[in-house]
Point group: C2
Chain length 219, copies 2
């Protein structure tokens, strides 16, 4: 909670400065990168410690264990993701425009937050073992589903979308197409040589994904 120290402007340099919040935040930031890069078993506590301003001792002081730190990273990462997602104002747009916007946003967000993608990949490699321990996370996704449901219901009511589809299913498709685009870029890109002109290729892929989703829900 406390972001900064109260009094005492830094004067005497040689002494230590206690700042728990900053210490924890620093650890989390470094740990996020490490776990995203190497996964749970590949990550090294010593490397995380070395990259922070503080020591390994503090990691255990605040997070208890490697797994505890991993879980904290996971939760923080989910929290950030969902808080950004909540900023979309879809209700002002027409159903189709809203759907397009949502897919485009998801595509761009996943591309721009590959650490998040890799953490989710890692967690799926663990079979969701750690996510299951977290009460907080379950609630965080309801918003995404709700946004789709509202936009979809509007579309159906206006006769623009076909009825009988499931918002969760639509969400699954959007996630699958956008997630895979990042998560499997190495095995997929490597095999089919997508690299040259990657920019335009990605733009093309993006519009194709949008098109695919829209075509699926429209009458």
């Amino acid at each position: 909670m406390a972001k900064r120290k109260t009094g005492v402007p830094a004067a005497r340099a040689p002494t230590r400065t206690n700042d728990p919040a900053r210490t924890m935040a620093g650890i989390l930031e470094v740990a996020t990168a490490e776990f995203a890069n190497k996964g749970l078993s590949g990550a090294r506590i010593d490397e995380i410690a070395a990259a922070t301003r503080t020591s390994k001792r503090m990691i255990y002081y605040y997070f208890g264990s490697k797994e505890g730190l991993y879980l904290a990273v996971l939760e923080e990462s989910y929290r950030r993701m969902r808080s950004i997602e909540a900023d979309l104002q879809l209700s002002d747009l027409s159903p189709e425009a809203a759907l397009r916007r949502l897919v485009e946003f998801t595509f761009d967000h996943h591309f721009g937050n590959q650490d998040y993608i890799r953490l989710v990949m890692s967690e799926n490699m663990q079979r969701g073992e750690y996510l299951a321990q977290s009460k907080i996370i379950q609630e965080l996704n309801v918003t995404a589903i709700e946004a789709i449901r509202q936009l979809y219901d509007r579309g159906v009511a206006l006769g623009l979308f076909r009825a009988g589809l499931d918002a969760i299913d639509i969400h699954a498709s959007i996630s699958a197409l956008t997630f895979f685009n990042v998560s499997n870029q190495h095995t997929f890109g490597l095999i089919f040589k997508h690299d040259p002109a990657a920019e335009t290729a990605r733009a093309l892929r993006r519009s194709n994904i949008v098109e695919m989703i829209v075509r699926f829900v429209k009458r």
Copy 2:
């Protein structure tokens, strides 16, 4: 190459029996499960050795290192996957039927071969580092693309499919939707409680994916 021993029917029990091919195959089988379950860094050579009829010594004798074994597992797994895929006879079917069959097959195959999915996930966590070392693998995917291209071109020629689409892009979408369905089942399923009546939910998901792909390519 040599599948079995030539002469010498097993008579004297107490003595050892040399069978390199069998030893290697046994190691690969166990290693596949271990790497698929735990990933490269999570896997333990000692555990693999314990689960085989042979010893850790043999693993290093035949595969050189943990990474060497991992790469061998990866290659073998890809090889198996593509050889099954090649069995589809799509050219006898109408373009749309062929497309449906391909998607259904891919969906079912991925669901039934989760070790393969997890190995690909693992490899993407390594940023394709090991796949890049393998000359063999690159060629193995061309068939999948080719199958789609042929079916798609037929569809366009018949005026059933819209022109201007890319076979690789279609393949990406099919892969994304079917792969994600398995790869992210834990984080996705956990969050949205898909568990009860999983059978019918999966069937529904399957037909929705097929529908989505078909709608995308049809005029």
